[in-house]
C-alpha cells in the first residue's frame, strides 16, 4: 500500500471519530436545551401559581371585608339540626343558595358532618361552644376552615329556639402560612433558576466552543470532501472503464443470444430427432420382442450346444491323450531319425572312402593288365578286361551319385537373388562346348530371377540341361527351349526338348533315385540326376513335374518362390 493511501485512510479514521464526537456533543447540547425548556416552563408555572395565590388572597381579603361588613358566615340551626337561616357569607362559603340551604341539615355542609353534629349537640348541652374547628365544604369542592362560636339562642320566653353559630374563617391564617411556604419555595426556585441560568451560560459557552470545533471539523470535512471528490473522479474513470467493459459484455451477450438462437434451432432439430428416435424406439420395442423370442430359441440351442460341447470336451480329452501319445511318438521318431541320419552320414563317409578305393583298384588293375599284357591276350580276354573296367567305372559313378544325393539332405541352403538368365546362358554354353555337338540349338527365353541357393539351383539346371542334351542327342536337329512364367507367388521354369521323350505312364518313376526309363545301351545314366533335381527343388519349397511323349520329346518343370 502506498504511503498516500495509508495517510488517506488515517485521515478518514480521524474524520469518523470527529464526526462521532460532534454527534455526541450535539446530542448533549440538545439535552441541555430540553432541560432548559423544562426549567423555563416550571418557572412560568410557578409565576402563574404566585399570581393565582395573590388573586385568591385578594378574594379572601375581600371575603373578610364582606364578613366585616356582613359578619362572619352566620347560621341558625333548629333543635332538629336544620338550618333556619344563613347570611351571605355562609351562602358564599357553601356555594349553596339560601333557599337551598334553609331546611337542610346543618352538618351536611362540613367535611366532617358527625363532628359538626357533635358540635351543635354540645351547644345544646352546654349552651355554647367556642372555636370549634370545622371545615365547610363548598358545593364547588372548596373547603373553608372555620372556628365556630355557637350558642343557643332563646326567644323572649326563654325557650330555646335553636343555635346561633358564627364561623370564623381561619383560611386566611392558613394561607398566610402557605404563602410564606410558597414564597420560600419561589425564592428557592429563583435561586434554582439563576443556577440554571449560570449553567446555561456555561452550556452556551461550551456550545460556542463546540460550534467552533464544529467549524474546524467542517473545514477538515471540506478537505476530506475534496479528497472524496478526487476519489469520486477516479471512481468515474473506473466507471468509464466499466462502461467499456459493459459494452464488450453487451457484445458478448449479443453473441450469446445468437448462439442461443442457433441452439434453439439445434434444439428444434433435436426435438425432431427425438421424435424420430421415439418412432425408432417403438420399432425397437417390436424388434426387441422378436429378439427376445430369438434369444429364447438361442438359449434352447445353447442348451443343446452345451450338451454337444460336453460330448465334444470328452472327445477333446480323448484327442488330447491321443495327441500326447502322438507327440511322444513324434519325438521318439525324431530322435530315431536323427540317429539314423547320423548313421547315414557315417555310412556315406565310409562308402566314399572304403567302397571307392577297391573299385579304383579293380578298374586300375584291369587297365594295367590291358596296358601291360594286352598284346599277349586273346581278343576275348581283352573284351572281358574291358567289361571289368566298364562295370567298375559304372559302379564308381553310382557311388558318386549316391554320395552326392545323400549329401544334399545335410547341406543348409543360403539363399540369394540369382539372375537365372545369366546362369542358364552360361551353363548352356559350357555344356555345348563339352558335348561338342554343334547341332544342338538352345532357345533361351526370359528367365525370372529368384531368391535361391545358387549352387543347388545351378546343379538343378546342369542336370536338366545335360538330360535334355543327352536325350535329344539322337535327333538330327536337337532343339532345347528354356523359359519361365510367373504364376501367383511362384515362378515356373521349364526346359523342353524334342528328344526321346518318355511314356507318361512312367512319369512318376522319373524322379526316383536309380530309376531309369532307358537302358544304358540306349542312354547312359545312373538314375541319380533327376532325383537330385527333385530333392533340391523340394528343399527350396518348390515342385517338379514332367510331361513327355515317347520319341517326341519331354518337358520338365520346376517352381521356385519369387
Amino acid at each position: 500500500m502506498h504511503q498516500q493511501e495509508k495517510d488517506k485512510i488515517k485521515k478518514l479514521d480521524e474524520l469518523i471519530i470527529a464526526r462521532k464526537k460532534l454527534v455526541f456533543q450535539n446530542k448533549e447540547k440538545e439535552k441541555r436545551e430540553a432541560e432548559l425548556i423544562i426549567a423555563n416552563k416550571e418557572l412560568a408555572f410557578r409565576k402563574k401559581e404566585k399570581k393565582k395565590g395573590e388573586a385568591e388572597l385578594a378574594t379572601a381579603n375581600y371575603a373578610r371585608s364582606l364578613i366585616e361588613a356582613s359578619l362572619d358566615p352566620l347560621v341558625t340551626i333548629s333543635a332538629e339540626g336544620k338550618i333556619t337561616d344563613v347570611n351571605e357569607a355562609l351562602i358564599k362559603v357553601t356555594g349553596v343558595s339560601r333557599k337551598n340551604l334553609i331546611g337542610t341539615s346543618f352538618s351536611n355542609y362540613f367535611t366532617e358532618p358527625e363532628k359538626a353534629h357533635e358540635g351543635y349537640r354540645q351547644v345544646f348541652e352546654k349552651g355554647f361552644v367556642s372555636a370549634y374547628p370545622l371545615t365547610i365544604k363548598n358545593k364547588n369542592g372548596k373547603l373553608t376552615d372555620v372556628l365556630y362560636n355557637a350558642s343557643i339562642y332563646k326567644d323572649s320566653n326563654g325557650n330555646v329556639l335553636g343555635v346561633f353559630a358564627a364561623a370564623r374563617d381561619v383560611t386566611e391564617q392558613k394561607w398566610a402560612i402557605d404563602l410564606r411556604v410558597a414564597n420560600k419555595k419561589l425564592a428557592f426556585q429563583y435561586e434554582e433558576n439563576e443556577k440554571r441560568a449560570a449553567e446555561l451560560a456555561i452550556a452556551n459557552k461550551e456550545l460556542v466552543f463546540q460550534n467552533n470545533e464544529k467549524e474546524r471539523r467542517a473545514a477538515e470535512l471540506a478537505i476530506a470532501n475534496k479528497e472524496l471528490a478526487f476519489q469520486n473522479k477516479e471512481k468515474e474513470k473506473r466507471a468509464v472503464e466499466l462502461a467499456t467493459a459493459n459494452k464488450e459484455l453487451v457484445f458478448q451477450n449479443d453473441e450469446k443470444e445468437k448462439r442461443a438462437a442457433e441452439l434453439v434451432i439445434a434444439n428444434e432439430e433435436l426435438a425432431f430427432q427425438n421424435y424420430e428416435k421415439e418412432n425408432r424406439a417403438a420399432e425397437l420395442v417390436i424388434a426387441n420382442k422378436e429378439l427376445a423370442f430369438q434369444n429364447e430359441e438361442k438359449e434352447k440351442r445353447a442348451a443343446e450346444l452345451v450338451m454337444a460341447n460336453e460330448d465334444l470336451n470328452k472327445a477333446e480329452i480323448v484327442i488330447k491323450k491321443l495327441n500326447m501319445g502322438l507327440e511322444k511318438k513324434v519325438m521318439e521318431r525324431t530322435a530315431e531319425l536323427e540317429s539314423a541320419n547320423k548313421e547315414l552320414e557315417s555310412f556315406s563317409y565310409s562308402v566314399s572312402h572304403d567302397l571307392r578305393a577297391p573299385l579304383r583298384a579293380v578298374n586300375g588293375y584291369a587297365q594295367i593288365l590291358n596296358e601291360d599284357y594286352g598284346t599277349q591276350l586273346e581278343p576275348e580276354a581283352g573284351r572281358i578286361t574291358k567289361n571289368i573296367m566298364t562295370n567298375a567305372k559304372k559302379m564308381g559313378q553310382l557311388i558318386d551319385g549316391l554320395l552326392t544325393f545323400s549329401q544334399l539332405g545335410r547341406k543348409k541352403l543360403v539363399k540369394k537373388i540369382v539372375l537365372m538368365q545369366d546362369m542358364v546362358s552360361h551353363l548352356c554354353n559350357e555344356i555345348k562346348d563339352k558335348e561338342n555337338n554343334s547341332n544342338i540349338q538352345f532357345q533361351i527365353n526370359e528367365l525370372q530371377p529368384s531368391k535361391c541357393n545358387i549352387i543347388a539351383i545351378e546343379q538343378v539346371w546342369v542336370n536338366l540341361i545335360s538330360n535334355a542334351v543327352k536325350y535329344s542327342g539322337g535327333k538330327e536337329k536337337p532343339i532345347i527351349e528354356i523359359g519361365s512364367e510367373i504364376k501367383g507367388d511362384e515362378i515356373i521354369y521349364h526346359i523342353k526338348d524334342n528328344g526321346a521323350g518318355f511314356d507318361m505312364r512312367y512319369a512318376d518313376k522319373l524322379f526316383g533315385i536309380f530309376q531309369r526309363l532307358h537302358s544304358d545301351e540306349e542312354f547312359e545314366g545312373t538314375g541319380v540326376g533327376l532325383a537330385i533335381v527333385k530333392r533340391l527343388v523340394t528343399k527350396h519349397g518348390g515342385r517338379v513335374w514332367a510331361e513327355g511323349k515317347l520319341n517326341e520329346g519331354a518337358a520338365f518343370y520346376f517352381t521356385l518362390h519369387k
Binding site: D354, R356, R360, G364, K393, D400
Partner: protein, 145 residues
C-alpha cells in the same frame, strides 16, 4: 639316408600306392620317392624321429602326398603337425584322398594344405590326376629351399 626326397607318399592302401607310383614312374616323376604306410611313420620321417632319427629335419621333401584315412595317426593329424611346426610348415602338402566330404576339404584348407585332390575311381582319370599333380609340384612349382 642322406639322399634328397622329392616325393613323400603317405598311403595305407597298397593298391592305391602301387597305382600312384606306377603312374609317376611312367612319367619319370618317381625319382627319390618314399612311400610310407601310415601317419606315425610319416611323422617320424618328417620330424626325424624313431627310425628316421639320423635324418636332418631341414632336409625336407619337395612335396608330400598325404592320404587322410589311415590307421594309427590319420592324415589330418599329420597335416596339423606339419603346418603348426615352424621347421616344417613350408613343406607343400597335397592331400590325395577318396573323400569328397566338404568338411574334410574345409578342415584341410583351414590347416593350410597346399592342394586337395580327390582320387578318381576311373583309372585313366586317376592316372591323369596323378600325372598332373606330379608334374606340377616337381617341375612347375617352385618350392622354398
Amino acid at each position: 639316408m642322406k639322399s634328397k626326397i622329392n616325393i613323400l607318399l603317405v598311403e595305407d592302401n597298397e593298391y592305391d600306392a602301387e597305382m600312384t607310383i606306377r603312374t609317376l614312374k611312367k612319367n619319370s616323376l618317381d625319382n627319390n620317392l618314399l612311400h610310407l604306410r601310415n601317419g606315425a611313420e610319416a611323422l617320424d620321417f618328417i620330424f626325424a624321429k624313431g627310425a628316421y632319427s639320423e635324418r636332418h629335419i631341414e632336409n625336407t621333401p619337395k612335396v608330400i602326398l598325404l592320404d587322410l584315412k589311415m590307421p594309427k595317426v590319420n592324415g589330418m593329424e599329420v597335416l596339423l603337425r606339419i603346418k603348426t611346426d615352424e621347421r616344417t610348415k613350408k613343406i607343400p602338402v597335397v592331400v590325395l584322398t577318396s573323400s569328397k566330404e566338404d568338411k574334410d576339404i574345409h578342415d584341410c584348407y583351414a590347416l593350410g594344405v597346399n592342394s586337395y585332390v580327390v582320387k578318381p575311381v576311373e583309372f585313366s582319370e586317376f592316372q591323369e590326376a596323378i600325372t598332373s599333380l606330379g608334374l606340377f609340384w616337381l617341375n612347375i612349382n617352385q618350392s622354398p629351399q
